[in-house]
Every structure is written in C-alpha cells, then in structure tokens.
C-alpha cells in the first residue's frame, strides 16, 4: 500500500526521537548552558589580552574560562568527588558531612522551587497564569512565621504542620482574591496577581516594621520561630537538609493525584483546556477558577513557609529571592506536569546552589543562573527555535503550549 522505502528499527527510533518533545527539552537545557558558557568567555578580559598574541591563545583562554565556570558549578552543586573519597577514607564524621554538604544543600535549594513550580503549573492546567507567586510566597512566609512563634507549648507533630498550614492559608488567600475577581468580574489574573505582589511586599514591610517586629531588634526582623515549628533536620551541621524536601515531593504527588485521578481535577483541566466546553458539559467554570487560583496560591505560600520553617527560622525584609518569576520557567520546563516540575526544580536547585561556589572560585556573578533560566524558558516556550537550530522534524501532534488569552475576558 505505502510507497515509502522500508525503514529499519534504528531509523524509526531516530525519527521518533527527532520528533519527541523530550529531546527538545534536553537540547534546550544544553543550548542554554552553552550560551551561558559563551557569555562567560566573551566577558572575560583575559581572552582579549590573549587574542592579541594569537587567536589560538585566545580560544584556549576562553575554553579554560568556560571549563572553570562549569567545573566549579558542578563541584558547588554536588561536592568535590576527591574530597568526598578522602573524607570517607579518613572516617571523621564532621569531615564527611562537610564534604557531602553541597550535594544536600542543592536539595535544600530545590525544595521551594518544587512548591513554586507546582503552583504555576497547577494554574496553567486550569488555564490561569499565576504571575504572583512571589507575593504569595511572601505572605505564606509571613503567616507561617507568625504561627511559628505565636503558638507556644505545642509538640512538633502539631506545631510544624500547623505552621505549614498557615503558610498555605496565607498564600491561598493571596491567590483567592485574584481568583474571585477573575470569576466574578472577568478582571485578568495576570494584572491582579502582579498588583497583589506589590501589595504583599509593602504589607510585609509594614508587618516587619510594626506588629511583627522583634522587640529586641532595632532593624525590621521578626522574632525567631520556636524549635517545635522548625523542620526536622536529618543530619548534623553543616548539612541543612530537612524533611521539607520530602513534604514537597508528597505535595507533588498530591497535585498529580488531584489533577489526574479525581473528578475535581478533571473539571479543572477541562476548564483549562476549553472553558466553553466545560460550561456546556455542566461544570462550574467560576468555581474552578477560584479553586485553581486558591490552590495555586496555597502551594506558593508553602514555598515561603518552607523557607522560614526549614532554613531562615525568621522573616527578614530581604526574604525575596526571585522564586516567583523562576517558577514560570519551572512550570514550562516541566510541561506543567508535577513529575516534570520536580525534575526541573532539581535542575534549577543544583544550578542555583552550584552557582555560589562558581561565584567565589571562578569569579562569575551568580546572576548568570538567571540568564540560563531565561534562555531555557525561551527555548522551551518556542520549541521551533530549537528545532530550527538542530534541524529536528516537526512533532506529529502539536506541542502543548499554554493557552494564549488576551487581557479581555471571554
């Protein structure tokens, strides 16, 4: 019937691989890293000095600069293998912990990313663009801090979940407001969450200056949370790894279960794919929007709570760390799927942690991580760029993008 020449299994495999979106994801990450390395090389002054001697010298210096960057990034993210082996042979517990600390620190960095990425991914699934994760993180951190020091005399197994719940509640309220405004008045959630971000920043400024300020401090800082609200650490110092990572994995599982295994999740996803179809099928679109925004806010709030209860133990003004905007890249990189978000968070967490060592040892500013994240974001959002660069074939099924909507509500 078909006139096509017969293909062997290997060619079919290559063909399928070339069309898969997984390959595009890998190539997007690879291309982002490569461009980041090139940027380091281009901004290294020694390269130009060496260029004056000969072009070959210049290239050599550039390659060394790139190698230094990535080597230190790697060592910073997972630890120095030689040091780890030596420590294990030495047998001193503290030395071993010091050697493996960077590896576990990467998981500490990953944890808030998981929550924030899940928040945005859940929003995407309901067709909502939650650009306000940053503000929800702030509010979640503030409410969790309050619960962490205001409730006294509770045992750990009550106080810790309670504080985490308060974080989710605070973030949830911050997500609920744009949600209800969108459902009732059609006001676009992108603008409202953005406005809520700034209201959250100012509100927490005020909270730290007045009602929540530690009376023993002259600068705006909250009191320390009680020991019973702290996330349990699994190792001694200097390893800061705490059970928050496992709670985040549990939340990722719960989000997956909710979205793909329950009726509510089905309705949420249907509203996200086609709200008109959902309406005609008898689903409540307005309540799906409100639930979607509230859950998204609650997850972001848990990211803030996690940072306070697991790492900082108090609220300080410089708390923001740009998780809010990174989370959009995370959700896209993870293709709005909880498992994908966890993998993307691991990548960003290891990058962010490794970058600190890179900054100290290779003198490359940590901001390069933001550039990498931005580039990866663009390549994932526009797979056509990657497909053009590497001459890959078009995917058979159209790649699932984010439903594009204007400001005006339908």
């Amino acid at each position: 019937m078909s006139q096509e020449p017969k293909k062997n299994a290997f060619l079919i495999f290559l063909d399928e691989l070339s069309r898969s979106s997984f390959l595009v994801t890998l190539l997007a990450i690879f291309t982002g890293l490569l461009l980041g390395g090139l940027l380091v090389a281009v901004t290294t002054v020694d390269v130009y000095t060496a260029m004056k001697v000969s072009i070959w010298d210049g290239i050599q210096v550039a390659l060394i600069a790139m190698w230094n960057t990535f080597y230190n990034l790697f060592i910073g993210a997972v630890g120095n293998p030689a040091e780890i082996i030596a420590a294990l042979q030495g047998g001193d517990a503290l030395t071993i912990r010091r050697a493996i600390a960077p590896f576990f620190e990467s998981f500490v960095q990953t944890t808030p990313y998981i929550y924030a990425g899940l928040a945005v991914a859940l929003g995407f699934r309901v067709g909502l663009f939650n650009i306000g994760a940053e503000g929800q993180i702030f509010i979640g951190a503030a409410t969790a801090t309050w619960a962490g020091y205001a409730f006294k005399g509770l045992p750990v197994y009550i106080h810790l979940p309670l504080a985490l719940f308060f974080g989710a509640l605070g973030g949830g309220i911050w997500g609920f407001i744009p949600g209800i405004l969108k459902a009732k008045t059609g006001a676009h959630e992108v603008i409202n969450t953005m406005m809520m971000n700034y209201i959250a920043f100012l509100l927490s400024d005020w909270l730290l200056r007045a009602p929540m300020q530690d009376p023993n401090e002259y600068t705006p800082k909250s009191p320390w949370i009680l020991d019973s609200a702290k996330m349990i650490r699994l190792f001694d110092t200097p390893i800061r790894f705490h059970i928050g990572f496992f709670i985040a994995l549990l939340m990722a599982f719960l989000v997956w279960w909710l979205l793909f295994k329950t009726t509510l999740g089905f309705e949420l996803r249907t509203v996200g794919l086609n709200s008109n179809a959902a309406k005609y099928a008898g689903m409540k679109v307005t309540s799906a929007i409100v639930i979607g925004m509230s859950l998204s806010g609650a997850l972001a709030g848990m990211a803030g709570a996690n940072e306070v209860l697991g790492v900082n133990y108090r609220l300080t003004p410089g708390f923001s760390s740009g998780y809010g905007f990174d989370s959009i890249a995370l959700a896209l990189l993870g293709r709005s799927h909880p498992a994908g978000v966890v993998l993307a968070s691991l990548l960003f967490g290891f990058l962010r942690n490794g970058a600190r060592m890179m900054q100290v040892r290779a003198d490359v500013p940590i901001d390069i991580v933001s550039i990498l994240q931005a580039l990866i974001l663009a390549f994932i959002a526009a797979p056509a760029i990657i497909r053009t660069i590497y001459r890959l074939k078009e995917q058979k099924v159209e790649e699932a993008g984010i439903s594009t909507r204007g400001w005006r509500s339908e």
Binding site: M194, M195, A378
Partner: protein, 427 residues
C-alpha cells in the same frame, strides 16, 4: 432564541448601571463619613495648616497658604456628602468619572491636611517630586499603549527599561549624554524586536515572552554590572553624567505652577510632547486608525489590506524605543549611574498606569501623575509621624488599579485582540 438573548441583555444592562450609580454614591458618602469620623472628630480646636507653595531651591517665591484645619475638613466632607446624595438620587451620568476624580482628589487633600495639621508641609515640593516620579511611569505606560493598541501585550516594560538604563550608562560614559540616550533607545528597540520575534513569529504566549525579557534583562544587567561596573578599574564606564535642568524662560516665572512644571530636565518636557504627539497620531491620523484596527480586529484589518504582522512589528519596535527612552531616565535623568535592578518594579507600575489610563496616552499620564503623587506622598509621610502607615499609602496605586479593573467604580477596556497571536487563514 435571538430575541430572548436580546431581551435578556437589555434586562441585565439596566440594573448594572443602577448598581454602579449606587456604588459610586455610597463611595462618596463613605469618603464624607471617613473625613468626619476619622479625621475631624479627634482634631483639637484651632489647628492651622501651612502649605508651602514653593519647592525648595526655587527663586520664584509664592506666599504660603495658611488655613484652619477643622473648618476646611468639614467643608470637604460636606461637598463629598452633597455629591453622594445627588449621585444616589439622580446620578451624574456621563460626568461620573470626572466626579469620582474630584471626590478622590478632595479626599486626598483632606487626608493630607489632617496628616499635617498643626504643622507645615511643602506642597510645592510634593507636587514637583510627583512630576519627576511620573516621568518613567508615563513613558513606560506609553510603551505599553503603543504595543497593546496593536494587539501585543507588553509586560516586558520593566526588562526593556532596565536594559536601556544599563546600555545608556555604558555608552553615555564612553561618548556623551546624547550618545548614551540613543544607545539606550536602540537597546529598548532590540528588546522590543526580541519580544516581537518570540510572540509574533514563534507565536509563543506574549506573557511568557515578556517574562523571558524581564528575567533575561535583570540577569544580564546584573551579571555585566557585577562583572564590570562595580569593579574599581571600570568606574569610568559608570559615569555618564546627568541631563541639565532647563528652566523654561517665561513659564518658569508663573507662581506656584512654574517651578513645579517648568523647572526640570528635558525628560519632563519630552513626556508632555510624547503624550500629545501619541494622542494625535493614534486618534487623528490614518496611521493611528490602522494601528488600532490591528489591535481590535486583525482579520478585518487584514481584509482591508493592512499588513498585520508588519504593523505589530512596528508597534513593538516603537514600544521598545519608548521603554528604552524611559529606561535612560533612571541613569541619565535621575541618578547619573547604574545600580543593579534600579528600575525596582517601575515597569510594572507603568503597566498598571496604562491599564488605569484605559490604554490611552492622556489617561496614562493622568495615572502616572496620580501614582507619582502617591509615591511622593508615601516618602513624605515616612518622615512625618502619621498614624496611618506609609506603606498603606504606597499600596494605593495597586489597589486603585485592581478596583478599576474589576469595573466596580470605573471600567477599563483593553483592545479586543490584545494578546491574541494573529494567524492568517490558510486557504
């Protein structure tokens, strides 16, 4: 079926107008009540307000404005109450937006008088700062207007401004101020072009494309700044200088208004010129009609022979140039050097100003001035010891934008095809 729908809409529309009338009326009364019970009641007798009408370091002297606080507040509350009663009974009709503006303005004045009662406040200085704070907001909002009127959502104003601020500093230090200005504008245009390629050619979500530019610009400028500008051996790259203040000869001598409006550097005058130029271009020329038609109904525009894709590219390039110009204000017009993340979210407030100003240049400037006033006021109130935290004053622009967007008090309407990628129908 069709008739049923029509009657249904007709029935729905009428009470909605009524609801709005009542909401606005109640708002006026609430303002009056707040002034009476919140401000006047606790006020000791015989307090006097002194408003200094001349900004500091100005030679156009104008006498101070002195009046007793309590009677003035009572009068303001009275006016609000009368307006509320009339609004509830008859409604101001098409003047209601104007009346809302008047009532809110009166209320702010009342609040200020109460906050500074028994003391002195430099009203001239406050308003002068307002104008300077409004410049980046208004210019940024104009960038948004240019893009969004052609149907491209631009949340990347922040990133474009930041990139332009950085580039203008480096080039301004290497050449002169005008070289820096042009380089900054070109940097903004480049960012706009990238936004265009991603969102028009590759049709990726315009909000994601904007987020990309914001993250990328923040990362790139911080990276280059800490790699070069912050190091002592590269300080000469971070000294572009400042545009000088130009006092407009005759206008500057106008009492009160003169020093506030006509004693600035060229950015303030450029703002006024651009606002009126853009209003004229968008609403009075054939070019503007085409530009807007692409934002409202691209398919119809295409049928009439307007090149939708080209129009949108021109829109993002012009929008990028405008945002770039706004970005250079931070370095060449205000601070005189580049600092990391120095735009500090102004691009997002500019976006809010554009929405508040209903996608309209003059409206954007009005919103920019209002937001600038709140900005100026919250800095002033952080010095005065006022029972209301200044952070809450700072929240006012964001809350106002949310209220306007929700359509309870006023309604802002985006271009119909804003944010929708255009695809030609395949034959």
């Amino acid at each position: 079926m069709a008739t049923a729908t029509i009657t249904k809409t007709a029935v729905i529309t009428k009470p909605k107008n009524n609801t709005r009338r009542i909401v606005v009326g109640v708002l006026f009364l609430a303002l009056a009540v707040i002034i009476w019970f919140g401000f006047v009641r606790e006020l000791p007798d015989g307090l006097i307000n002194t408003y200094v009408m001349t900004p500091s370091a100005s030679d156009a002297i104008f006498p101070d404005w002195v009046f007793p606080t309590a009677p003035a507040l009572n009068m303001i509350a009275g006016i609000c109450a009368i307006m509320g009663a009339y609004q509830l009974a008859r409604g101001f009709g098409k003047f209601s937006n104007l009346m809302i503006g008047l009532a809110v303005g009166l209320f702010i004045f009342g609040f200020l008088s109460w906050a500074s009662s028994g003391g002195t406040i430099n009203l001239g200085g406050l308003l002068r700062v307002m104008v300077t704070r409004a410049v980046p907001l208004t210019l940024g909002a104009l960038s948004g207007v240019l893009c969004e009127r052609a149907g491209v959502v631009n949340i990347a104003i922040e990133g474009m401004m930041l990139m332009a601020a950085f580039v203008s500093t480096v080039f301004g230090s290497l050449t002169n101020l005008w070289g820096g200005l042009i380089a900054g504008i070109l940097a903004g245009m480049l960012m706009g072009y990238i936004h265009g390629v991603l969102s028009i050619k590759y049709k990726i979500n315009q909000i994601i494309s904007g987020t990309f530019i914001n993250i990328f610009a923040t990362g790139m400028t911080s990276f280059l700044s800490s790699r070069f500008l912050q190091k002592p051996e590269y300080q000469h790259l971070n000294e572009p200088g400042l545009f000088p203040v130009i006092e407009i000869p005759i206008l500057y001598k106008i009492p009160f208004v003169g020093p506030i409006l006509f004693g600035h550097n060229m950015y303030v005058y450029a703002m006024f010129i651009f606002v009126f130029l853009l209003t004229f271009l968008l609403f009075k020329t054939r070019w503007g009609l085409r530009h807007r038609s692409v934002g409202e109904h691209p398919r119809a525009a295409d049928t009439l022979g307007i090149n939708v894709i080209k129009t949108r590219y021109i829109a993002v390039l012009l929008g990028g140039a405008m945002a770039g110009f706004a970005g250079t204000y931070f370095t060449l017009g205000s601070v005189g050097r580049f600092d990391e993340s120095m735009t500090a979210g102004r691009g997002f407030i500019a976006l809010a100003a554009m929405i508040f100003g209903n996608w309209n240049p003059i409206g954007s400037m009005g919103a920019g001035m209002l937001f600038g006033f709140f900005d100026s006021l919250s800095t002033k109130l952080s010095i005065l010891r006022v029972p209301v935290p200044y952070e809450f004053i700072g929240m006012a622009p964001y809350l106002a934008t949310m209220i306007v967007l929700a359509g309870v008090v006023g309604k802002s309407q985006a271009p119909a095809a804003d944010g929708v990628p255009y695809e030609k129908e395949s034959l």
